[in-house]
Amino acid sequence: MPPIPDLELMSNRELVELLKEYGISSGPIVGSTRKIYEKKLLQKLTGEEIKSQYAPAPHDDSEEDVPPSPAYKDLSDSRSQPRKRGFRSGTPENVEPLNESYRRSPRLNKKPMKFTSTPIQKPGNTDQDSSKNSSSSGGIPLWIKIVLILIAIVIGYLVLQNMEISVDNNIPRGIEAEV
């Protein structure tokens, strides 16, 4: 097995060449992309997984309920240490019940979250923009649909009631006319 080159010491050009050698199509190697390409090359060279320096974010991070992924092995302690400790000590046994509880809860949480998500998720926009977005995008909120369906059912029931009464009224009139 060839010795693993020190990727951090290589120039951007050399890194591009090395990526080509390993068949990894690459974009420009700049400050923000270099680290990822280095990790990808390391992964190819050593067969290890790319590890995140961060602990996984909590479930409330996106609007949908996301079961927490298994704890990552962290590379460095430089950031967010208290949270890291919590996740490091979390064994798979601790993680699985959390997964189950999040799986159970999505149905419960979805409706309230839909109510609250629109004001929360747009701090930069005005309320007018958010209301315009919700009405113009074509997605009618679920609760409005439910209300409309209920109103339709109520109207239908009232119509049926009135129809029965009118039939009853017609019969006596018909008899009276013949007599």
Binding site: S25, K39, D60, V66
Partner: protein, 90 residues
């Protein structure tokens, strides 16, 4: 009903302009803060990174995981969101 979220639909419906990074699908407060701390405070900066990685799905997901600890679903949501936005507006 489609499988995409309201957040996703809102984002891909219009040019992103000056939208915050937390308006990207999959990116909430925690991930958004981590990205902002690295300088990725606006959605267009994350778009820039996506384009620098030549819109490669695996690389972008790996970068998201590395830079803010996004899990697989969050990576997928964010990538899909940006990809569809690019298909419409880029």
């Amino acid at each position: 009903m489609s499988s995409t979220s309201q957040k996703h639909r809102n984002f891909v419906a219009e040019p992103m302009g000056e939208k915050s990074v937390t308006e990207l699908s999959g990116i909430g407060d925690t991930l958004g803060k981590r990205l902002s701390d690295d300088g990725f405070d606006k959605a267009y900066v994350v778009l820039g990174q996506f384009l620098l990685l030549k819109k490669d799905e695996d690389l972008f997901k790996a970068w998201l995981k590395d830079s803010c600890g996004a899990n697989a679903k969050q990576q997928k949501d964010c990538h899909t969101c940006l990809k569809e936005w690019c298909d419409s507006f880029l």
